[in-house]
Amino acid sequence: MGTLERSTLFLLLSIQPALALQVGTPHPSAIVNEHDLAGRALAGFPHFEFTLALQQSELLFAAIDPTLYTDVAGAQARIWVVADRSLAQWQLNPLLIDARGSPQPVNFSALDIQHNTFVLDFGTLSGDGGLAYGLGYDIVIDLDQDGTLSPGDHIDGLNDTGIWVVPDPTTAGPLAVTEVIYSGGTWFGQDLYYPTNIAGMGQLPIVIVSHGNGHNYTWYDHIGFHLASWGYIVMSHTNDTMPGPETASTTTLTNTDYLLANQATIAGGAINGHLDSHKISFVGHSRGGEGVVRAYNRVKTGHFVPTQYNVADIKFVSSIAPISFLTSTAATPTGVNFQLIYGASDSDVTGSPGSNDSKPFCFYERSTGNKQVIYIQGAGHANFHNNGGNCWCTGPNLIPAVEQRKVLLGYLLPLVKHHIQGHVAARDFLTRSYESFRPLSVASNVIVAKEWRNSDSLPAFVLDDYQTQTALNLASSGGAVTTNVANLVEGRMEDRDGSFDFNSSVPHNGMTNASDTGDQPRCAVFDWSGVDAFYELAVVSGQEDFRDDVWLSFRAAQGTRHVETNTLNAPLTFSVTLRDRNGVSSTIPLSSFGRVTRTYPRTGSGVGAGWANEWCSFRLRLSDFRRNGFFPDLSQIVAVRFEFGPSFGSTRGRIGIDDIEIVKQ
């Protein structure tokens, strides 16, 4: 559901006049309880993750905490899975019709949420919503078992959708695709993909694909066919990469103009009038990956004025294994939605700290819009296109090209769906940890480190982003920091000695997030070894009320080739505690949702194994801290505490931590 728990005044109309209410004269008993119910069971506290989406064939669970919703404790009820209705539709028709054929009788326990967790479906619910990408369902606990949504019932999905069942995003869409290759002259060769039946489809968003050096514009069929099958127009163009990224950015921009200007002629006019020039996205690979960032920047700053579109029409930029030749001023995504996809085995754009031009992560750091990283262990440079040949990959556990492209497509589709069309469920793919929610078709041995951060323009209380207040005992929010971790340092996220070897004079070893002096991302690093430790941030006065917020968000990465990382030699976990003014606290082990990946054990760039730091973002739902009788008062949270060591997760470790914030969405 994604909304806060609330009791909602529910006005019944029409079919049950006995319960009908006059608008503006609510009866106290005419209350349904709207809150999250759907999600997945967890092995550890908080024992359940309320989610917005699941993929077809995944189990659907529902759960309710009897210590929070005491009205269900000991009660008998029926749970219904109903095709999603809007509030108005519920008001018109509160009759419950179960999409599974019949409701599910349950007996609620008074003990805890675990005893009140039920499998609602074993993967049979349809997610075939056609181009809508999924089907929505609402979950109703019919406490009075009257077969209607009535006062006293609980519902997930009254004002929005309770749960989306969606296809695996690597699944081809429902549309047949036509491909046309043509040229408008030198550097205007274009490979176009569009839905075959476009004539009856109105205007469609456009995705522009800009290849890298040594690549070819006809090598991106996988992107073209996939996205076009879901209702988008994809154009991959000849990209002038050999002179450099500035020139490449020009071909991105001019080819976009050309496509829009010549739609009456291209493909015999089949796409004429069907290009939505206000929904354009750029996807670039390698030199093209920096080129598309530069292209966006040139339009934004007015250094290039397109004839057919403007900066507001560009909805996202996706950089695949980009090079980083240009300055932080020239090549910054600024506020556009941004995605970085990159392979840890890349032997072309290596990511080595010794290469100034090989800092793909810098684009994520520069971005101030909604931003994401997908960093794939075992993925090389060339396998992001589909021409075969040398993968330009090195390291252990190299993944097959088909798996690498599944990851690519599995995150490109949700990116387009969410940023272009506001698809709510697609956002789950972008924001949830990879271990929690990933495209099902990707092999289970593929390891991905995933980051997400909301746009700077969205409301947030940033506890600490380490950009200001450099004293170790003071967060950027002004709150006090207390800790007993070892070797705490705050500093620039740069491995400045050109090697992945660890030495104490380069505490941010393995961090390749800065490309030039204009890049100043900062974080904290520290370690612990065999004993419990903590790192606590006080919440400053005036910010303690978390009731209107939804998530605690932060990112963490293991430190490359540090002795603690090497000794642990595994994914890393720890726990997070919230504490209120009265001292009531609740602790969530990170392992319930995911782990901080072990750095990819690639050799080179020094002695030993372990490549760049792999930042992993985690979003803990604040309401999850209030579970099974643990009830910190979210209106007066005074501390956020990270807890490490044998009692809380990994016995030892060396991590970086950053971007600790409280957000609303």
């Binding site: 040229s183 030198t186 040594g214 070819n216 002038d240 002179p243 090079i323 330009w392 090195t394």
Partner: protein, 218 residues
């Protein structure tokens, strides 16, 4: 003007590919694309050279000054295939004298590079004497950032490294293979001709050439 004045020109073009320096086996697959030379490295041979002119000039992205190109040489260079593996980090800047060579292909596997050597518009469109200056792989860089001063510095480096121009006999043979001067309407017409050279001299880059030869929208 017609792209080919006669069938003989096309035959000569293909024959030139066969008669030139012994082809190298494709290089072994590299874990990483080979790094550019730290200084300079000579190319191996000049396969063919042909004068061209354009009725409509184009702006070259291969010089920081973005000069207009109206004429020059269309050349086919033979290089060590190991030096022709495209990379996305910095590549060697291929240079002839104090001018960048505008590579149209990479020379992957074949070692055969088709390139435009533009007359230097900044020097009054001076036509480069192919036998007067060395042709070489320069240190890593981005051609779009190469200005006259930087190119002069790199040429001096090449001379320090003892790189010599092609012998007169080599140039003569290349000119003979290249054939008569070509007059193109515009850069696109030149590109179409160059695509045929790529197919002839570097067939493993067929995707590139075929992509260049895609029918033009009318």
């Amino acid at each position: 003007m017609q792209l080919f004045k006669s069938l003989a020109a096309l035959v000569l073009l293909v024959a030139g590919a066969a008669l030139a320096v012994t082809a190298f086996d494709p290089p072994a697959r590299h874990v990483s694309p080979p790094a550019p030379p730290e200084r300079t490295k000579a190319v191996l041979d000049l396969v063919s050279a042909q004068r061209f002119s354009l009725a409509q000039p184009y702006e070259s992205a291969w010089r920081a000054e973005r000069p207009q190109v109206r004429s020059g040489w269309l050349v086919v260079i033979a290089a060590d295939p190991a030096d022709c593996v495209p990379r996305n980090e910095l590549e060697s800047v291929l240079q002839w004298g104090a001018q960048t060579l505008e590579r149209i292909n990479s020379g992957t596997d074949s070692g055969r590079i088709v390139a435009v050597l533009a007359d230097d518009a900044l020097a009054g469109e001076a036509q480069l004497d192919l036998g007067a200056q060395p042709c070489f792989h320069g240190p890593a860089g981005l051609p779009e950032r190469m200005d006259a001063a930087e190119l002069a510095t790199r040429l001096a480096l090449a001379r320090e490294d003892g790189l010599e121009p092609f012998a007169a006999r080599t140039v003569g043979a290349a000119l003979a293979r290249g054939g008569a001067a070509l007059e193109f309407r515009d850069r696109d017409e030149l590109q179409l001709f160059a695509a045929q050279l790529i197919l002839a001299h570097s067939p493993t880059e067929g995707d590139l050439a075929r992509g260049m030869l895609v029918p033009r929208l009318k």
